[in-house]
């Protein structure tokens, strides 16, 4: 009974608050990450030499440094050059850039899988390069990149827990505070684990809905 009251009065409100913070971190990071990924992916395939090199360097940097270290740099490092970011802003920035670097790799692979004939046909109709990329290449490439990008979004949901490391108290952070007060580590982190599992399950359901919506004849899974 006492347990139940503790959960009802302390755990539930704290975790609910944390959940909303997590969601507020995840949703914009997923959107910005995807946008950055598409832009960087396109530049890596269709940019001129310097642009391509810059986009590649972006990926090397943000994919190659541990995310926690990146977050520390945004939050604890930038103040040295007089830039002060709120924990929430630093976290969204760090997540978006890192996520974008990974998305760009999926987008790049998908862009390279588009047959050359699609481009020849667009060019022969008088399409400029930019129009060709936006009207012909990307709509096809996005469909092929979707499974990979969905994977990255699922991953983002889980690494959003790192925001706690730079004092942005989200779901995991709230849990940590509760647990260190009550010493009920097992119970609380089991609940938190279940919360993340629920979030990733809902996300993968939504992602497969999106895949279904965008599915066209000729782009479906080939069952063998």
């Amino acid at each position: 009974m006492e347990e139940w009251l503790y959960i009802q009065n302390e755990v539930y409100p704290a975790l609910l608050k944390g959940f909303w913070v997590s969601l507020a971190l995840i949703v914009p990071s997923a959107i910005f990450g995807l946008v950055i990924g598409i832009i960087v992916g396109v530049l890596r395939v269709y940019g001129n030499r310097p642009v391509m090199a810059a986009a590649n360097a972006f990926v090397v940097l943000f994919r190659g440094i541990p995310l926690v270290v990146q977050l520390f740099i945004w939050y604890f490092g930038l103040p040295y050059i007089k830039i002060y970011l709120a924990p929430f802003v630093a976290a969204v920035l760090g997540f978006s850039l890192c996520s974008g670097a990974y998305h760009s790799e999926y987008v790049r692979g998908a862009l390279m899988s588009i047959r050359r004939g699609q481009m020849l046909a667009a060019q022969s109709l008088g399409f400029s390069k930019v129009k060709m990329i936006f009207s012909i290449i990307l709509p096809q490439a996005i469909r092929r990149a979707l499974p990979g990008c969905g994977n990255e979004i699922i991953y983002l949901i889980k690494y959003s827990s790192l925001a706690y490391m730079i004092t942005c108290v989200e779901l995991t952070g709230e849990g940590k505070i509760l647990a260190s007060n009550s010493f009920k580590y097992t119970e609380i982190f089991l609940i938190i684990g279940a919360c993340y599992l629920a979030m990733t399950s809902v996300a993968s359901l939504l992602l497969s809905r999106v895949e279904d919506r965008l599915r066209l004849p000729g782009f479906e899974h080939q069952r063998i």
Binding site: A121, S124, G218
Partner: protein, 252 residues
């Protein structure tokens, strides 16, 4: 009085040391159907792709309606390509668009036409190639012959001055070739100017205004169908024509 539409002078292309096109020149008058024949690797495809600069020629100049094409200027190049329709051997329909959208997209995105107006025109063009019932189908749901007819409608919707056809029936099953050739014949009868690479010798014989035999990147012989098919001067031309007549010639 013949009215020249397209003039090609001394177009050449090298890939590394290999010369795939060595100084091809050609004048195409309004309403002409020029047929390119020759063994594979002769440079027919390269010549066609050089004409609308899908392949950049190393040398040579091209005029459309007596205006030289300055292909280094992107805007000139894009404007020129709108006036030169291209049909590919493997169709190259946009896989993510329906037949109707395939025909419409160039008018909307390149010419800046309103969607509704472009849609009406697209339906009309699809009707013209006999695909009224298939406007809402995706490329993956169409047969090869239907796909090629959509691609012809897509090119026609841009109101081209001249059409380049690169072996338009070579990727088709034999029973589908006829429907595509019928559409091309129709175009010719309505006065469309065309340059077409093909092995369909019977088709060439009955409709070409000139047959051009290419070999090793050169135009080695040219003339009326009667001359090229029956009285060619060049032994190699005679041999080639005899060979393709054997494979493609009987069914008229």
């Amino acid at each position: 009085m013949p009215e020249p539409i397209l003039r090609i002078e001394n177009v050449s292309k090298r890939y590394g040391k290999k010369e795939v096109l060595r100084g091809a020149s050609l004048t195409v008058n309004k309403g002409d159907l020029k047929i390119l024949i020759g063994p594979s690797g002769a440079g027919k495809s390269t010549l066609l792709q050089c004409i609308n600069f899908l392949v950049r020629p190393d040398e040579g100049r091209i005029w459309l309606e007596e205006k030289e094409v300055h292909y280094a200027h992107k805007r000139d190049l894009y404007a020129y390509r709108q006036k030169v329709g291209m049909i590919f051997q493997d169709f190259n329909l946009f896989d993510h668009l329906t037949a109707l959208e395939n025909v419409r997209i160039g008018m909307v995105k390149v010419k800046g036409m309103a969607k509704a107006q472009a849609g009406e025109r697209a339906v009309a063009e699809l009707e013209r190639v006999g695909l009224k019932e298939h406007t809402q189908k995706y490329p993956a749901q169409l047969s090869g012959g239907q796909k090629q007819r959509v691609s012809i409608a897509r090119a026609l919707a841009m109101d081209p001055k001249v059409m380049l056809l690169d072996e338009p029936t070579s990727a088709l099953d034999p029973e589908l070739i006829g429907e595509v050739l019928a559409v091309i014949r129709d175009l010719g009868e309505n006065g469309m100017t065309m340059i077409m690479a093909t092995h369909q010798i019977a088709f060439a014989g009955s409709l070409a205004s000139e047959i051009i035999f290419m070999e090793d990147g050169r135009i080695s012989e040219r003339g009326t169908p009667e001359k090229i098919l029956f009285q060619a001067e060049n032994a190699r031309t005679r041999e080639f024509c005899a060979k393709i007549a054997e494979f493609y010639g009987e069914k008229r």
